[in-house]
């Protein structure tokens, strides 16, 4: 999908930084990122695994997350 930036962009990991309190618009992305942060903190998931999952989710909902992608990646 053309509006989903590549997975190696640093913004993906930055999204999962516990100190990053960015407010997103898409509901499933909001839920997924919050849960991923908790899972990383508890050691249930690596940041790389979490990025993979969030990237896949954004590919599936490319249209719905466009506004958030534009905000996160400063498009």
């Amino acid at each position: 999908m053309e509006n989903i930036p590549p997975k190696d962009r640093p913004e993906w990991k930055s999204l999962l930084n516990p100190d990053n309190n960015i407010e997103l618009n898409n509901f499933v992305l909001q839920m997924k990122i919050t849960q991923a942060k908790k899972d990383i903190k508890k050691g249930k998931k690596t940041i790389e695994n979490a990025v993979d999952e969030i990237y896949s989710l954004c590919l599936k909902y490319a249209l719905a997350v466009k506004q958030d992608m534009d905000m996160v990646f400063n498009n």
């Binding site: 960015i22 407010e23 499933v28 992305l29 909001q30 839920m31 919050t34 849960q35 903190k41 909902y61």
Partner: protein, 325 residues
């Protein structure tokens, strides 16, 4: 087909035609329906096309988009509810109806966020209910067996073609009081006794009573911008605990919310413009009661008025809806 209230004769015809249906109605109507491709929960409160209303004579019908003609109707209890996301199709959505205050309700509410692949497809639905002025018992119905249950949740997993995606959204009219107190529960659960308020150990029930806090607006927590509500059920002053309709979690920070003056008007303002039909929607009984939505209309978002909403997890005082794009 328009999602709205229908007479039982119409619903029987739809079932006989083999339509895939999600239904909501009083138990006395649901128990008369023939077997077929339907799931249902009991409730007599609705947001109809013209207004919010109480009815024990009509059945709310959502005909589900079933473009691939592939679906699975399955019951869940506390032993298998964790399988729900893995049971869904690679691309599709799941509607889930849960009976209140049963083990499956508590288990889903407390552990949904541990479910494998939870966010791969929308999982949405509602908590069944009953006439608040009755001793009726909320139930779910499995249309394929024709049986009802007080304990089991019922779901329908629907497959979608690859070029379609189901998207779940919520409308929450409550805003966090970000200038107010921060509440940190000390454990996960449906009640709060002692907690941290602004970092200090405090009994929450005593705090609410001493400060005369209005408990109609919910507690809220912020999930990366999504405001998730937890409604107050009761302040048990004798036992120094606050009872809730959904769980709180010790790793989250909660805030009180700002009271709403006009629910119907605020819903109208909060509802996004969408250019596809709403596949399914439900709204909370507390919004209906506190917001006096009976007789008031919320355009384009018809559906059951419920004892809890499901949008991947259990929510309160929230409208949930699904669109297929």
């Amino acid at each position: 087909m328009e999602s709205k209230l229908y007479k039982i004769e119409v619903v029987v015809d739809l079932i006989k035609q083999g339509k895939l249906l999600s239904l909501a109605a009083d138990e006395r109507l649901l128990s008369q329906l023939p077997k077929g491709n339907w799931v249902a929960g009991t409730i007599p409160y609705f947001m109809g096309v013209e207004k919010g209303l109480f009815s024990q004579d009509l059945i709310f019908v959502n005909e589900l988009t079933n473009l691939d003609n592939e679906f699975i109707i399955k019951e869940y209890n506390e032993k298998n509810i964790h399988e729900i996301a893995n049971d869904s199709f690679e691309n599709g959505y799941t509607i889930l109806i849960i009976p209140p205050f049963q083990e499956v309700h508590k288990d889903f509410a407390l552990k949904s966020q541990e479910i494998d692949a939870l966010y791969d497809n929308p999982i949405l639905g509602w908590v069944a209910g009953m006439d608040l002025n009755s001793s009726d018992v909320p139930k779910t119905f499995n249309g394929q067996t024709g049986k009802s249950s007080e304990q089991n949740a019922i779901s329908v997993h629907v497959k979608l073609p690859k070029d379609k995606a189901a998207r779940l959204e919520i409308v929450n009219i409550f805003k966090q009081d970000t200038n107010g107190i921060e509440i940190q529960p000390l454990e996960d659960g449906f009640e709060i006794s002692d907690c941290l308020i602004n970092g200090e150990n405090t009994n929450f029930a005593k705090y609410i009573t001493d400060n005369n806090i209005d408990i109609k607006p919910p507690l809220t927590t912020n999930y990366s911008g999504a405001i998730i509500n937890v409604s107050f059920k009761n302040i048990d002053v004798d036992n120094n605990k606050v009872e809730l309709y959904a769980p709180v979690f010790k790793d989250a920070v909660y805030r009180l919310s700002i009271p709403v003056d006009n629910y119907a008007a605020d819903f109208e303002k909060s509802i996004p413009k969408i250019n596809v039909p709403v596949e399914f929607a439900c709204n909370c009984i507390l919004n209906y009661l506190y917001g006096e939505l009976e007789g008031k209309r919320i355009e384009n978002f018809t559906g059951p008025i419920t004892f809890g909403e499901i949008a991947y997890t259990l929510l309160n005082q929230t409208m949930v809806y699904l669109v297929i794009e």
